[in-house]
């Protein structure tokens, strides 16, 4: 199948600072793909170059299908009403307004409230509605849930999943690991403008190895240990507590989150 997005050797420099150092990847049609990275890793610049908002210094970007873009920092005139913004953007795009899409995002319910009176979540929904005008096959979302409360985040995740269910290709930039873990088919991790990882979430876990967290609670407090060899570490820890005659009140073992794996890669501590 032809990829929805093909990026080859994408490069961008701001003055002496090389922000993107030759990114190459593809996003398949109908896929949710995430660009990850700590602040300054180059993910927003990469996204903007791919969207066509910013001119890259080198490399190529090939997009298939109509684009819809939701920016990380977006705003509208303070006194505009949601439906006025929808009509204005639909007219400029020469597209029809899908009342189903607006209903799904709860835009008509915002009524005659002005943009300045909307909550962060309502603004995000409106921005997404504007990006979805014209039924784009390819959707760019930059930090789509930044600033949202848990409820708003869950609702937006549900919506993104439903868009994927309808065949949309979604390329998002995020630093919210839970979001990426639950939504995305594949991820690309950027580190100082270079690709640190490209693959699925299970592949990432495999790449950085299995890292366990052991938390032991005793009457004197809680201790946390990290291990790659869980059996050996547990045995020696338990032996240590027994020999020192310290009773164990609780013991927890977990494999850590994607966030930890990501941070290790992003900081370049693991390859």
């Amino acid at each position: 199948m032809t990829p929805a997005v093909a990026v080859a050797d994408l490069r961008k420099r701001y003055g002496a600072h090389q922000v993107l150092k030759g990114l190459t990847f593809q996003v398949e049609q109908g896929e949710i793909f995430a660009l990850l990275g700590v602040n300054g890793a180059g993910k927003t610049t990469a996204l903007e170059c791919i969207e066509g908002q910013r001119q890259p210094d080198g490399g190529s970007v090939t997009l298939r299908g109509k684009r819809g873009i939701q920016l990380q920092n977006a705003s509208l005139p303070a006194h505009i009403r949601p439906m006025e913004a929808v009509k204005l953007f639909a007219k400029w795009k020469g597209a029809k307004i899908s009342s189903d899409m607006l209903e799904e995002l709860g835009i008509p319910q915002l009524g005659k409230r002005q943009y300045r009176e909307l909550s962060t979540g309502q603004k995000r929904r409106l921005h997404l509605a504007l990006a979805l005008i014209g039924e784009p096959e390819l959707l760019f979302l930059d930090e789509p849930t930044a600033g949202l409360d848990v409820e708003g985040r869950i609702a937006l995740h549900r919506l993104i999943q439903s868009l994927k269910g309808r065949g949309r290709t979604i390329l998002l930039a995020s630093h919210d690991m839970a979001e990426v873990e639950s939504l995305c088919d594949r991820i690309a991790i950027l580190n100082r403008g270079e690709m640190a990882f490209l693959g699925t979430v299970p592949q990432l876990t495999q790449a950085v190895g299995r890292r366990y967290h052991i938390t032991i609670r005793t009457p004197t407090g809680e201790e946390t240990y990290q291990s790659q060899d869980i059996t050996q570490t547990l045995l020696s820890l338990l032996e240590g507590y027994r020999s020192r005659n310290i009773p164990i009140l609780d013991l927890k073992v977990d494999r850590g989150t994607l966030e930890e794996h990501f941070l290790l890669l992003a900081k370049g501590e693991t390859t």
Binding site: L76, I80, L88, K91, L130
Partner: protein, 238 residues
């Protein structure tokens, strides 16, 4: 309705909802007119002969130089610009719609001022209404072009408020509408010529006649429009 006309109509509505534009384009110029008009006529009854053109120049300058730049800075100095770009709305749309909407509001304000001058002060209407309206439209357009340069060039609202005042006050003080220019030193008289209010005042009072009197305004208009085009182009490149 086309995207452009819908955008223009919408901008007019947004301007009415925005209290700041209502204040700078209607409330303050009209209150200032009533206040200053009363003083002028009390000091010199002959002042009513030029009351309408002089107060119109003041009101137009206030609306264009103080009211419009913050609206432009709101669009071009904020994330609205990016939002427009990302959704296929051309960068010039915000500027053109804001300016055309302000043109309508300032012409309405000028008409109200004219009516109030007749009713409150028995001021005479312009002798040649068509020439007057032509001069007024030109003055509003040039003043808005200067306001647009300010709004596009300075995107920090606090700085913009200060710089707008730096253009508005000399514009009024050096235009000859508050006191005769002959009272000023030569250098200041010449400095006033860089502002549309100076030439607009001459055109509306009939001191300068068409078409020669309109030429300096047209030249200023061309210069300001060129500046706007350069600023927009720089913004698009960024």
């Amino acid at each position: 309705m086309s995207a452009f006309w819908y955008g223009l109509q919408l901008q007019c509505r947004l301007d009415i909802r925005s209290k700041s534009l209502l204040i700078t384009c209607y409330l303050v110029p009209l209150l200032f007119f009533v206040f200053v008009g009363s003083i002028f006529i009390a000091l010199d009854p002959q002042a009513k002969q030029t009351l309408i053109p002089h107060m119109t120049v003041m009101g137009v300058s206030m609306g264009a130089l103080i009211g419009v730049p913050p609206t432009l800075a709101e669009i071009y100095g904020s994330d609205i610009k990016g939002m427009y770009r990302a959704n296929g709305v051309p960068l010039w749309m915000g500027l053109v719609n804001t300016v055309l909407s302000a043109l309508v509001h300032l012409l309405v304000m000028s008409t109200l001022l004219c009516g109030m001058a007749v009713l409150l002060f028995d001021a005479p209407l312009p002798d040649r209404p068509l020439t007057y309206v032509g001069g007024l439209v030109l003055l509003v357009a040039v003043s808005l072009a200067l306001g647009s340069v300010l709004g596009l060039a300075i995107q920090d609202q606090a700085k913009l408020t200060m710089i707008s005042q730096l253009f508005f006050l000399p514009s009024i003080l050096l235009s000859g509408i508050l006191f005769p220019l002959e009272l000023l030193p030569k250098a200041l008289q010449q400095a006033g010529m860089v502002f549309p209010a100076f030439w607009g005042g001459r055109l509306l009072t009939g001191v300068a006649s068409w078409p020669q009197g309109a030429l300096p305004l047209l030249a200023l208009f061309g210069g300001f429009v060129l500046c706007c085009a350069i600023l927009l182009r720089r913004m698009r490149r960024r």
